[in-house]
């Protein structure tokens, strides 16, 4: 488990040898409501654009062909959240994803599969019988394979601003938790800045 965590930590550093295409800042809420922040970076591994001829001539003449862009991405992010009276969570995610963008207005959808690490640090005291009334800190680590979906808008074409916004539900499995594997979910609302 420790070796896996080390690789998860190192992997984004390896990618830094190549500059990211985008950086992100997002609200990350465990169960949507336990607030946190994430910083991330995104690399485009490959891209393909398909053009379709619009049906109506006047519309075609006015706005040109319909272009849909498919991007294959690698993203990495680091962040945390606060679950009051329970724990503070520190997360590291690496995700391979796909994004489909309707380029004229910039709307996009996407999905990704990835892996992550989560450390749950309790934010209330911990006691053991061995240490008695002496409060300790405590927590535990999890490996978190994850699935993401996203919807957003690239504002660059329409406005010239090199930013996109997105909303991204994130689903992960906490391995281990209790006596088994326990799924969980969060919500990300963020901004991508195009470098």
């Amino acid at each position: 488990m420790r070796i896996l965590f080390c690789w998860l930590c190192l992997f984004p550093l390896l990618l830094l040898a190549q500059s990211p295409d985008k950086v992100s800042l997002s609200y990350f809420g465990e169960s949507a409501i336990h607030p946190g922040l994430k910083l991330g970076a995104e690399w485009t591994l490959g891209s393909a654009t398909k053009e379709k001829t619009r049906w109506f001539k006047k519309r075609r003449q006015k706005i040109g062909a319909k272009a849909i862009q498919h991007d294959f991405l690698l993203s990495s992010s680091l962040g945390g959240y606060i679950f009051p009276n329970n724990h503070n969570g520190y997360v590291l995610h690496a995700v391979l994803g796909w994004r489909k963008t309707w380029t004229r207005k910039g709307r996009f959808i996407g999905a990704g599969l990835g892996a992550g690490a989560l450390y749950r640090a309790y934010n209330v005291p911990v006691y053991t019988l061995e240490t008695g009334a002496e409060p300790l800190s405590g927590g535990y680590a999890q490996f978190t394979p994850l699935l993401t979906m996203s919807y957003g808008r690239d504002l660059e074409n329409m406005t010239g601003l090199p930013v996109s916004w997105y909303i991204k539900p994130v689903f992960w499995a906490g391995i281990p938790q209790a006596h088994t594997i326990v799924p969980n979910a969060g919500l990300e609302l963020g901004i991508l800045y195009h470098l």
């Binding site: 336990h34 019988l129 088994t180």
Partner: protein, 346 residues
């Protein structure tokens, strides 16, 4: 309303939702107890300075203490003593990492014993500690009394509609369905629903009740309570839960699923647990609290426990307008019975 006003209201509303982790005080503490791989969530509320504590063991399995941590009964008790709300292993806010083989009634019992020992370390050896089990908490609490040394450490045992013998529950629920169901049908009240229950009850061979039938008995138990006008809704307390929405320590998908997985794992052992024949080993003072119309855990269990425990001080209180949760139906009478029992030993 202009945009600035609307934005200010939205920001204020957003900030009010974000309650921070609640700070420790003279009347509140929250902590985890690490024991045998589990991190058990514990919240202490009320008159800590009294030196008298009731550790509440919640129902389930797959429940949690949070639903018990509000209402008139808890507010009344917390003025007089300190309530200790334990989330049992794998449930509520409790977490940690352990094996599936560690999800047994013996382990739940060991966890309860460990908490009692910690309470004495934390609050002093002279602290008066009572265990109170409701429903499935009666299963784990009774198991702890019989299979650990916890009786040496506690001042008394309070069992509220406790499920210490599932086969006996199933056997005694059937005649209760038949007796009260026939009365209700004769009176013309909810006849269609009661007839369904009566048809099921008549079909059950009480000398050989299957696990599936046991599950159906449990379901019909709750249904039957919902049909009875005799069961009251008690006065609610002044305060709500002790945390805001964001601060609620159990508001998470992982909590819901952990509850479910733990319930599934312990289910088979719970369904076959029958502790009646060993109740004579209980010698600490005992208070038994039962709803008259509790179809889920019939009062016959309370009556049988009263006969069998070897305690010198033992009493059974039947709540005349209650079902499975007299703390909700008759909160004043419920808390008064507990305080009267506890006060003898302070």
């Amino acid at each position: 309303m202009n945009r600035i006003t609307l934005l200010s209201i939205l920001v204020a509303a957003g900030m009010s939702m974000f309650s921070c982790t609640r700070l420790e005080s003279d009347t509140y503490e929250r902590f985890y107890l690490q024991t045998d791989g589990a991190d058990l969530a514990v919240e202490v509320n009320g008159n800590i300075a009294s030196g008298t504590f009731i550790i509440l063991l919640h129902g389930g399995p797959g429940g949690g203490s949070y639903g018990y941590n509000s209402g008139l009964y808890s507010e009344t008790l917390e003025e007089s003593l300190a309530m200790v709300y334990l989330d049992q292993r794998g449930q509520g806010a409790s977490q940690g990492v352990y094996a599936a083989d560690d999800v047994t009634l013996q382990q739940f019992a060991d966890d309860i014993y460990a908490l009692v020992l910690l309470m004495k370390q934390k609050y002093g050896e002279s602290s008066k500690i009572f265990l109170m089990g409701h429903s499935w908490g009666g299963t784990t609490g009774t198991y702890a009394l019989l299979n650990t040394d916890v009786q040496d450490e506690i001042t008394g045992w309070i069992e509220a509609d406790g499920a210490h013998d599932i086969p006996l529950i199933n056997k005694t629920a059937i005649p209760m369905f038949l007796e009260i169901g026939n009365e209700e049908v004769s009176a013309g009240r909810n006849t269609e629903q009661w007839q369904e229950i009566l048809d099921f009850a008549n079909s059950v061979d009480t000398s050989n009740i299957s696990v599936d039938e046991g599950g159906q008995i449990n379901n019909f138990g709750y249904t039957a309570e919902g049909l009875l006008e005799q069961i009251t809704t008690g006065e609610s307390g002044e305060g709500g839960f002790s945390h805001g929405l964001i601060g609620m320590p159990i508001f998470s998908l992982s909590t819901v699923l952990s509850n479910l997985f733990t319930s599934n794992t312990i289910f088979d052992e719970t369904e076959t647990t029958a502790l009646t024949n060993r109740l004579r080993e209980i010698t600490v003072p005992v208070l038994l609290l039962w709803g008259k119309y509790d179809f889920v855990v019939p009062p016959a269990l309370g009556e049988s426990a009263l006969e069998r425990v070897s305690s010198q001080d033992k009493r059974l209180v039947i709540f005349e307008t209650s079902g499975h949760s007299p703390m909700d139906s008759e909160p004043e009478a419920f808390s008064a019975a507990i305080i009267s029992f506890v006060d003898q030993y302070r």
